[in-house]
Symmetry: C2
Amino acid sequence: MKLNGFITPDGYTSDIAVFTITSEPNGDHKPPLKKLKIMLIKRSESDHEGNPNMEAGKWALPGGFVRSTETSLQAAEHKLEEETGVSGLRIKHFGTYDSPNRDKRGWIISNAHYVIAKEEALRNRKTTYDASDIQLFTINEAICLPLAFDHRQIIDDALWFIKKDMALTTLAQHFLPEEFVLSELQGVLLTILDDSSISTDAAFFRKAPKLPFIEAVTENGQLKKSNRYSKTPAQLYRFTDFQPMVSIYNQKLKG
Amino acid sequence: MKLNGFITPDGYTSDIAVFTITSEPNGDHKPPLKKLKIMLIKRSESDHEGNPNMEAGKWALPGGFVRSTETSLQAAEHKLEEETGVSGLRIKHFGTYDSPNRDKRGWIISNAHYVIAKEEALRNRKTTYDASDIQLFTINEAICLPLAFDHRQIIDDALWFIKKDMALTTLAQHFLPEEFVLSELQGVLLTILDDSSISTDAAFFRKAPKLPFIEAVTENGQLKKSNRYSKTPAQLYRFTDFQPMVSIYNQKLKG
DNA sequence: AAAATAGTGTCTATGAGACACTATAAA
DNA sequence: TTTATAGTGTCTCATAGACACTATTTT
């Protein structure tokens, strides 16, 4: 269809960068090792009609064409559910990729999203007709793989957004159980942020309980504790509804 | 064109929210009154071929269809140049609007951008065949106008992004001359941010010179001053290349 | 001299950062 | 008793915020 003499795009797609933080047990009464990972699919050799697939065999972000009855965000939601069985997560749009030559099939526009999934949610992931394999990779592994289209760029950008959001919003809560212990929060933050006030135990354990967006959990008027990662019972915390807002005009000054 | 059986969009457009801060003289040796404004166009009754225009007579963001040889960002750049004669500004993409029913003509996807223009750059703005009028409005004025399509929502979102960027990036420099006086910076910040550490003179004048991303201007080894807004000569400053990064895990704590 | 902007001096309270210390429970 | 995590005590230095004060120039 041409409107006002302008050529219309040949396709409108939605891609999703699915991140998770895996926890490897590190011995009893010790905090687990946490690593940021991204879920990628291996593109099938042929599609469900048997036609050879574009960029077959390469690894790619899950995603697909947007229907004309939905937004790209809605498409991202149901694609994610189709491909991983996961739903109900907060998907975030972070960019549009519309370079005319990014896809050899024509002028295909992609909206990129990211989402934080709990590790358990991805455990029962399944391949579909589009994907011959589906796996979690650390970021270092992912950028060494042969990636389809401009997905290398999209992953780079997604990482930048996730870092920004981890520093500026309460994004960390989506990587954590509802009630968590300070060392868990610290572990999540350190997979993405590099800051001495987080990595130094004394500083972090002193400051974190006073952050305006988390609160101690109580039960029957008692402070609720857990020793899931330590011999000493540790206080449980949860995020509050408070939305913090910071400003560069209110930060540390130069010497 | 249909690809893999999916319907393709009927149009791909690019809209631009053009912001400026106007300065009204407020008497000699006084800082001018500054106000945040947005530039809107009034949609013509008919297009350049004489056909009646959709949403005619309503106010709208400047923009238009993206060519198949360009990205929506490039489209935003040349649309802005066509409609205001302004080029070389840093345009920023902030959102995609692709709700199937946002435009009665069909499934038309819009990418939304914002840009900060200097007041002078918009002074020689001109109407085109698309626009019967083009004017600057304060935000309060703009949201009371009859606006085309979902542009009310886009303007709301743009405002939120500009506030965020003003607080978190050195965006303020695009509203200022290269060399500025502290009261000018304060005036710009106060059009968008509401913070006592900015509005309180003593606090702001003490802290601002030490911010890591601005530096005092010198000339022939002397501190360079200006009395454009005051009887007392005031120190001139400029932004440095430093990119500040703040974090909510490093902010003020609760009592 | 008066008025207006542009700062500075000084005080107090709070927080950051470093380092040593205590507390708790399992093995 | 040893060990590992989870904190706290205390010190020093830097900064935020408030308020009064000084400095510079025009009228």
